[in-house]
């Protein structure tokens, strides 16, 4: 085959591809035309709703220059005005349309007047440029939970009651989105507070009991006492760590080992622990303190609520693009109905906060497919299965794996 023939084949391929794309476009447009059976009024309604829904996502992130710029374009096409501007209490955040050069200064004066009254108003712009189409401005307040956050200013070429009405309604709609944004933020704050609570959750009892157990070894087995004391120091240092939302599975597992070593020192032979860890999954990144509370829960119930021998098995396995961690115990178990209520957040028993908090955080980071899977029954022990994707955008541990491995003399805080 010659070069010319190949070129011909390539050209034919390109033409076919282009034809396919055009055909696809045409049929797609055709399909949409067939579907849109409705009156012009309904069309207009759909159009408005669609534009409004496009403007909503940026505003859900709060009122900043970036989000205002994205939203202003949509809002202007929603209102159909000459120009539209979004401000906060101090300055213009975004200007969409012409006239941004010479109207920015005067508009803030008007907005400040409006901020005092808190009511929307329609004013003449008194623009010196005769060519400028922005003759009238409607200034409507954007309110949040803490009062007026800023203003929406819509410009028209003449005074119009319709524009006043429309701008006020749009401003009210934007205000709702901003309130939702505040709600989002406070929800995040609650979760963060819970994590902080979890970090500080190492109970005083645990500290007393650990120290007492260590003290009992000081005379009989000083070497073991020293080991345990170092475990205790490492464990508290990890749990009280201030920075970073994510950690490595290796670090989380080590913290669990330290916890179990301390618990074992107190309960002696009653606690049997088995660890099965595939080394491939040790570098997996996961939310900070999302395994240790589960183990702590299991041990607390298993050892403190009964006098039998208590077995915990912790296994971490490689499953392609995911890691699977299973925590299994032979403790007292739990009524599935009660567990369901705890996970739904209806039951605020102190023991459940670990479970529901871990579940919430996993769902928040990885999506609803990655929540806790718990198999249990009264007196039947409990088996908790967690899955972690090996990579998820934004999940970066703030310390390298294997860091904090018992350094020599401690000099820092």
């Amino acid at each position: 085959m010659t070069g010319i023939e190949i070129a011909a084949v390539a050209a034919a391929g390109a033409v076919l591809l282009a034809a396919g794309i055009v055909l696809g476009r045409v049929t797609a447009r055709h399909g949409r035309g067939d579907l849109d059976l409705g009156t012009p009024v309904e069309h207009a309604t759909f159009h408005t709703l669609h534009t409004a829904s496009l403007a909503a996502p940026p505003l859900r992130a709060g009122l900043t220059e970036d989000t205002a710029r994205k939203a202003a374009r949509r809002l202007r096409s929603l209102l159909g005005t000459e120009a539209l501007c979004l401000t906060d209490r101090e300055s213009v955040l975004a200007w969409d349309g012409p006239g941004g050069d010479h109207h920015r200064e005067p508009v803030m004066r008007r907005v400040r007047e409006m901020l005092d009254s808190g009511r929307s108003q329609s004013v003449r712009t008194d623009c010196d440029d005769l060519q400028c189409p922005l003759r009238w401005a409607v200034i409507a307040p954007l309110t949040g939970e803490e009062g007026v956050l800023g203003a929406l200013v819509a410009y028209g070429s003449r005074e119009s009651a319709v524009l006043v009405r429309a701008a006020t309604e749009v401003a009210r709609w934007v205000s709702v989105q901003l309130e939702l944004a505040e709600l989002d933020r406070s929800r995040t704050r609650v979760v963060e507070a819970e994590i902080r609570a979890l970090r500080a959750q190492i109970s005083p009892h645990f500290i007393f009991n650990s120290l007492a157990a260590i003290a009992s070894f000081v005379r009989t087995d000083p070497e073991r006492a020293r080991e345990l004391l170092l475990e205790f120091a490492d464990f508290t240092r990890y749990s009280f760590r201030r920075h970073g939302d994510f950690t490595h599975l290796a670090d989380e597992l080590r913290s669990i080992e330290q916890y179990l070593a301390l618990a074992g020192a107190r309960f002696g032979d009653r606690l049997k622990v088995t660890l099965q860890v595939a080394p491939e999954v040790l570098p997996v990144a996961l939310p900070f303190l999302c395994l240790q509370p589960l183990v702590e829960n299991a041990v607390k119930h298993g050892l403190e609520d009964s006098t039998d021998e208590f077995k915990v098995t912790i296994s971490a396995r490689d499953a392609g693009a995911e890691a699977t961690v299973v925590i299994e115990d032979n403790g007292v178990g739990m009524d599935p109905e009660r567990l369901r209520r705890i996970l739904a957040g209806e039951h605020t028993a102190s023991s459940g906060i670990g479970l529901s908090n871990v579940d919430d955080r996993l769902r928040q980071v990885y999506g609803d497919d990655y929540g806790l899977v718990i198999e249990t029954g009264v007196g039947a022990g409990m088996k908790i299965t967690l899955r972690f994707p090996k990579y998820r955008a934004g999940v970066h541990p703030s310390s390298p794996a294997g860091q904090g491995r018992r350094p020599g003399p401690r000099t820092g805080p």
Partner: protein, 581 residues
């Protein structure tokens, strides 16, 4: 060759692979002073795993076959396969690990924060994976055909079934141990027979492979041709023929063939006298037998210098974009360990590649007719029988057969895992574990189907095509992504589509047997020379044209990629907010 030993060896390798994969050397202890985290995978183990997964049928069989066919110039293949890790070590290894990415699609998303780039990268991962699986299945077919006489699709089917079964059932959990085991198995399987063969060769007064002359038969040899071939004789030859030559039936009668081109029908047996020259295959555009000793790749090409550069570029730059290699770096605990691992890989692979050329040279002396029957890839397997024979030859042959199957299994399972992982994550709608099984079946079914319909090209060549696509798509993405701030999502998309797409088209055309010869064939068969610069250039130019699309977090991401992990940690929240969400 005794089939029973070979079949037993292959079965043993398959069983060992599945057993180690399923049970593994699990770390299982009761707590005492035992720290799991200190048991992270050491560079040595991980390097053996990477090497085991990497050394495929192309390395185990293909390199020796090409050396037999073409001579020392084919050593560019092992050199390229190894040197790819040098480029990987210098430019990519540590930053790729620090990015936290598991697959190459993950890296694309981590660096460019664009789901579109991620999806496109996933398509290329799947494409390269399939291109690479294809020769593995064909090699398996060839091996089983030579060992047992089974039809050539049986071997591919066996490998496909074993791998799909093991991966889908979750049997490849301790994959690091499996692959490390496979490396040492492959090295042993090649090293031990090589030692025996060398001793036998020395005992045979060490005949030289005559680089500057055509190969000759050492003794009276009967060759059966499976497919119709055209041979080119440069001097008259007397052979005993059973079958058709030049469309005339012969039944065990001596035939005198003149110098010139002759057509030998399928199924014909030719009995050559001792010291007869091995006929050259006609139509392969060989300039003469002397090319066996020239240092340029592919004398069967009309443009050997161009082809050599194509090969060098593809293998040097393509290694970093192989899906099953990239995922193994995730197992290293940090960037430094990833770098150290790559260094050990260089050593392990370098040691391995000393052996195939030995088989190639010995094959040139003792089994020269393989170049006539088109089964040069089998040189490694038939040599023990030829040179040693008896029980010893059978046992060594069985060892080699086991090693060859280890090569198919390890590479195929690693590739299937990677391709299936990407299929579940990015291509199929997400539905949990059952979908992974479906994806595994899909990941294997496509190359299996292709292996039956496509033209059989030498195994090492077929692998070279996968390298070319990888070098033209992922090499620009990785190198620019790691070392250039200005890379934008539109630039990456354009570069992947233009560079990778061009290479993929060229490769597909070659595999479909489209171009006949001349420059057009050379350009399509060795696309890396033009498609790699094309990919880089497109990526840079389109990125420069879209400066406003540079991701906002580029500085933080690059800091994370390049700073050692403990430095990032000491800074508390991380440099440039890199540790933030």
């Amino acid at each position: 060759m005794n089939q029973a030993y070979a079949v037993a060896a292959v079965t043993a390798v398959v069983l060992a692979t599945v057993l180690i994969g399923a049970l593994g050397l699990r770390i299982s202890r009761t707590t005492s002073d035992f720290y799991v985290a200190s048991r992270s995978v050491k560079p040595g183990l991980n390097a053996a795993a990477i090497s085991g997964e990497y050394l495929s049928a192309a390395s185990f069989l293909g390199v020796a076959g090409l050396v037999l066919l073409q001579g020392p110039e084919m050593l560019w293949y092992p050199v390229g396969y190894t040197a790819g890790y040098l480029v990987l070590l210098v430019l990519v290894a540590a930053p790729l690990r620090r990015s936290g990415a598991y697959t190459l699609s993950d890296f694309a998303e981590a660096r460019l924060e664009s789901p579109q780039v991620r999806r496109l990268a996933s398509l290329f991962v799947v494409g390269i994976g399939w291109l690479y699986l294809l020769p593995q299945l064909q090699g398996a077919g060839l091996t089983l055909e030579i060992l047992t006489g089974a039809p050539d699709w049986v071997g591919g089917l066996v490998v496909a079934l074993v791998v799909t079964g093991a991966v889908a059932a979750g049997g490849m959990r301790s994959i690091t141990f499996v692959q490390a085991f496979q490396y040492w198995l492959k090295l042993t399987a090649l090293l031990v027979p090589a030692l025996f063969l060398t001793v036998a060769w020395l005992g045979d007064d060490a005949p030289r492979a005559r680089f500057a002359e055509p190969a000759t038969f050492r003794e009276h040899t009967v060759v059966t041709v499976d497919d119709t071939v055209r041979v080119d004789l440069d001097r008259p030859l007397r052979v005993t023929v059973t079958g058709t030559v030049d469309d005339r039936r012969h039944e065990r009668e001596p035939v005198a063939l003149d110098a010139g081109v002759h057509r030998i029908g399928a199924g014909t047996s030719l009995a050559f006298p001792a010291h007869a020259r091995v006929p050259e295959k006609a139509g392969t555009d060989r300039t003469g037998a002397s090319s066996w000793s020239q240092p340029l790749a592919s004398s069967r090409e009309e443009h050997p210098l161009y082809a050599t550069y194509g090969l060098i570029l593809a293998t040097f730059l393509g290694t970093m974009g192989l899906p099953h290699v990239a995922v193994r770096f995730y197992t290293s605990p940090n960037g430094t360990a990833a770098r150290r691992t790559t260094l050990v890989v260089l050593g392990l692979i370098g040691a391995f590649y000393l052996l195939p050329p030995v088989y190639g040279a010995l094959g040139r002396i003792y089994a020269p007719e393989l170049s006539l029957t088109g089964e040069a890839d089998a040189a490694v397997l038939v040599l023990p029988d030829r040179m040693i024979g008896g029980l010893g030859g059978d046992l060594l042959g069985a060892l080699l057969a086991g090693g060859a199957f280890a090569a198919f299994l390890s590479t195929a399972s690693g590739l299937t895992m990677s391709v299936a992982g990407v299929l579940t994550q990015d291509v199929l709608p997400s539905r949990g574990v059952r979908h992974f099984r479906l994806a595994t079946v899909l990941a294997m079914a496509v190359p299996l189907g292709l292996s039956i319909v496509t033209v059989n090209v030498p195994v090492a060549d077929a692998v070279g095509l996968a390298f070319a696509v990888s070098a033209s798509s992922f090499c620009p993405l990785l190198v620019l992504g790691i070392w250039w701030r200005g890379l934008t999502p539109p630039g990456a998309v354009a570069g992947l589509v233009v560079g990778g797409g061009a290479a993929l088209t060229a490769v597909m055309a070659t595999r479909a047997g489209l171009p006949g010869g001349g420059w057009s064939h050379s350009l399509l068969a060795w696309p890396a020379v033009w498609s790699v610069p094309l990919g880089f250039l497109t990526m840079v130019l389109v990125s420069l044209a879209t400066p406003h699309r540079v991701p906002a977090t580029t500085a933080a991401t690059l800091a994370r990629l390049h700073l050692p992990e403990d430095l990032m940690a000491k800074d508390g929240t991380g440099v440039g907010g890199g540790a933030g969400r």
